[in-house]
């Protein structure tokens, strides 16, 4: 185990542009700026929550991290020394078990024509993680750990409910004994009671196997519950990053403030002071100039549309990308 490294994953200036092709010969006419200049790191055994609106690039970060879609530029370093994009073929496949992903849709993420035991155990056998003699016992143990029953091994995915399917997906990831799991909105397709079960399962497994999660979600309550650190994304940029307690107590970026104001409070007597954002998220193919958020920001000034904000360290590991907090930006604080 390379547990010597404190940061399981380090991301530096990650960019991912998708080309827009048009015409008969697929000429590239532009790029979708899905992820731009994102940097963060996740400590071993912790969970980082990644929140943002639909289409802000959360899932792309997850997939680019695992090299499931090749990145455009930047660095992704696992365990301090492994650059995934430099691995090819067999060595890449051999590293795969260390980093796993759990998908949002538990229905499309299981092959309908394989029994569950086979789905969970296929990659275990592929990588020879356990001896053949212990294989059945190992799969049974993993299934039990994920809240599945031994006798369900021979069943097919169509016989399971959404929550059970998500358990199967988790079991598939856990069976490979990974260090790091990208949870790509793992509970958003499930109903609320099942969401809680899955969240608790993920937390239990984290303790049991010393896992590190990147928890992608647009559900702030869930992120608040599970995360140790939280990153907020807007249109491909990470606008704010801090510890959970810090960011929920003291959101700095106007977007974060607007986002957190929408968290429902299960108490009817509380008067909510919601910040309503106007308009919809701009096209990532043609992002606004300067600060990408300026088109919808309440505190927008002339400088916001002219230059992109720097990422400012506000201390305590709290970073924010906004001109308001940059004394050199020319933003006039009232």
């Amino acid at each position: 185990m390379s547990s010597a490294y404190e940061n399981v994953v380090e991301v530096r200036n990650l960019c991912k542009y998708f080309p827009i092709k048009a015409g008969l010969f697929g000429r590239v006419v532009g790029h979708v700026h899905a992820v731009e200049n994102v940097s963060f790191s996740i400590k071993r055994g912790t969970t980082m929550g990644l929140v943002g609106e639909s289409g802000c690039g959360k899932t792309t970060i997850g997939k680019t991290l695992l090299n499931l879609t090749p990145k455009t530029s930047g660095e992704v370093i696992f365990n301090g020394d492994t650059h995934l994009d430099m691995l090819k073929g067999k060595s890449l496949r051999d590293f795969r078990p260390k980093i796993q992903i759990i998908f949002q849709d538990p229905y499309s993420s299981l092959s309908p024509r394989l029994p569950v035991g086979e789905i969970i155990g296929e990659a275990v056998r592929e990588h020879n993680l356990v001896p053949e003699s212990e294989f059945d016992a190992y799969i049974s143990r993993i299934m039990k750990a994920c809240g599945l029953f031994d006798y369900q091994k021979d069943r097919y995915p169509h016989e399971f409910s959404g929550g059970q399917r998500q358990r199967i997906c988790i079991a598939r990831a856990i069976a490979l004994n990974p260090d790091f799991i990208v949870c790509d909105e793992p509970v958003s397709a499930l109903d609320v009671s099942i969401q809680a079960q899955i969240i608790n399962l993920l937390e239990d497994l984290q303790k049991q196997f010393n896992l590190t999660y990147l928890f992608i979600s647009h559900d702030l309550s869930v992120v608040q519950h599970i995360s140790d650190t939280v990153g907020v994304m807007y249109l491909g940029n990470m606008v704010e990053y801090a510890d959970k307690a810090e960011i929920f107590a003291n959101p700095l970026h106007p977007y974060t403030q607007a986002l957190f104001s929408a968290i429902p409070v299960p108490d009817p007597t509380v008067k909510m002071n919601r910040i309503i954002l106007e308009g919809s998220i701009p096209s990532p193919a043609n992002p606004p100039s300067g600060c990408k958020f300026h088109t919808r920001c309440r505190k927008c000034q002339a400088v916001c549309s002219q230059k992109a904000p720097r990422t400012m360290d506000m201390g305590n590991g709290h970073t924010v990308a906004c001109h308001i907090y940059d004394p050199e930006s020319g933003y006039e604080n009232a």
Binding site: L110, R113, E126
Partner: protein
Amino acid sequence: MSENNNINNNNEQLALDDGRRVKVLSPGMMVFKRFIRNKLAIVGIIILAFMFAFSFLGGLISPYRQDQVFYKTDSANKEFASAVVNTEYRFLTEDGSPLSTLVRANFSRLVKDAGDGDISFDADGAAWTVQRLGEGFYSIGTTKDLATVTLLGKVCDVKALDGVELSDAVKDAALQTAKAGGGSFEIDGQTYMLTKGKAKTYNLGTVGEVAIASLLSYDAHDSADTGVISTYAFRRAAELALRSGETSFEADGIKYTLEAEEDSALIFRDGEENPLASVSRIIVNPVTSGVFLSVDYKAAVSEAIADKQTAFDYVNADGVTERHTIRMRGNNYIIYTEQQTYLIDMYAAPSWAHPLGTDDHGMDVLTRLMYGGRISLLVGFVVMLLENLIGIIIGGISGYFGGWVDTLLMRFVDLFNSIPYYPIMIIAGAIMDALEVPPYTRIFLLMAIMGIMGWTGVARVVRGQILSLREQDFMVATEATGIRVSRRIFRHLVPNVMPLLIVQATMGLGNIILTEATLSFLGLGIKYPLASWGSIINAASNIYVMTNFWYIWIPAGLLIVLTVLGFNFVGDGLRDAFDPKMKR
């Protein structure tokens, strides 16, 4: 299932909501259960089972071969012989040498107008005399030069030709006659003739019969007697006896008797029962070569014609009485008779031996349907497999790798799709005809061409399916878990494409069988003596067959319709069974 059995054996009490109460079914089993619940699909399966049994077992059971031709015997009133009343004179010379054409022509020309009188003409440098000895019987005589008689003033001389001895009496008579200006004289029963030659010379010659001409023809009853009745003496004596109405004559020292009728006669050797020869003005010839007409038959025909009968009975050599009818055609009489002939049993109506009759080649239709079914089904399956093989490979590569490979292969598919199908098939058929490709080779070539022309649909479907599957999360998951490419393709992609392909292939089979039938119907596909259902229906392209012999083409059409229907029912059933939206 084994899990359930264990539980029952242990008599363990399960809670009502225990998951172990649910019976586990693999996707394959579920498809099967759904399929057998579909009544239409079962009907399709039964139809197809019947078709396969009919085609592949039927050929073994059928007592006939597929190219066995059946024959029948039938009687037909056919032309058997022709007869004509002879108007051409037949000549027989004394020494057997043929008479010159010029003489015969002169004779034939002059004899028509001669009536009873004698005729004389010059031909071949000799004088000819024709003497009428009876109705249609002439004696042809000519002079034979013996000497030259010269009368020059007082000099008279008879100069005999080389090798001729003349008696003095003859010489004297010749001189006398010459002085009288020529003519004939007779000494010792021999007629001499003096004809004027050059200047004052005369030619002395004898007049003698050299040939006879007659309208009668002679047929020996026994072919050994042909020589006898062909002699000059016999003929002359017989003809004379016939003209004079005598009942006997003698030739070469043998006595013959004669039974004459109006235009014909029978000649017997004296004292014998069986006739030697028959004589008639009527000449009877067989219509077809190689048939020998007996003299008895010829006599019977002559008699019937002479009696102006239109039909007569004749007992042939086998003792069977045949009815012969006589009809006039121009100057000829044509004799018809009912004859037994060996015929190909074409278009036989259904019977126990041939339940669906026979076709235009005299082959058993039911047997050909069985063997034709083999070829139709075989072509269908082989072409389907070929199409799917090519289609899966090209569509799979295109869908899995995507990008420029996909673009290139799909443009290739477009190219193939824009090749006109039937013109290509017609050209291929014409080429195979021109090369005289053997029937079995032709089937394989046909399969290959149909397969090569038909894979594009499969390729498109496979590509589309794989393109959509490739983006599914479970395929991303296989990449994320580091499973190697071959396993991803064969364990994850292929099993998920299979259901669609099976449905496609089953539905496509019907279409392939229809296409093969169409090609065979147009004469481009399966060729005689092999059969396919399409080539059997080809018989209906003849309006006569179509309207009169339903049993040849209707069953083949029904078999095609039923088979295609069967495949479509099964295909529909499979599609419904594979459809995940259908609950079990």
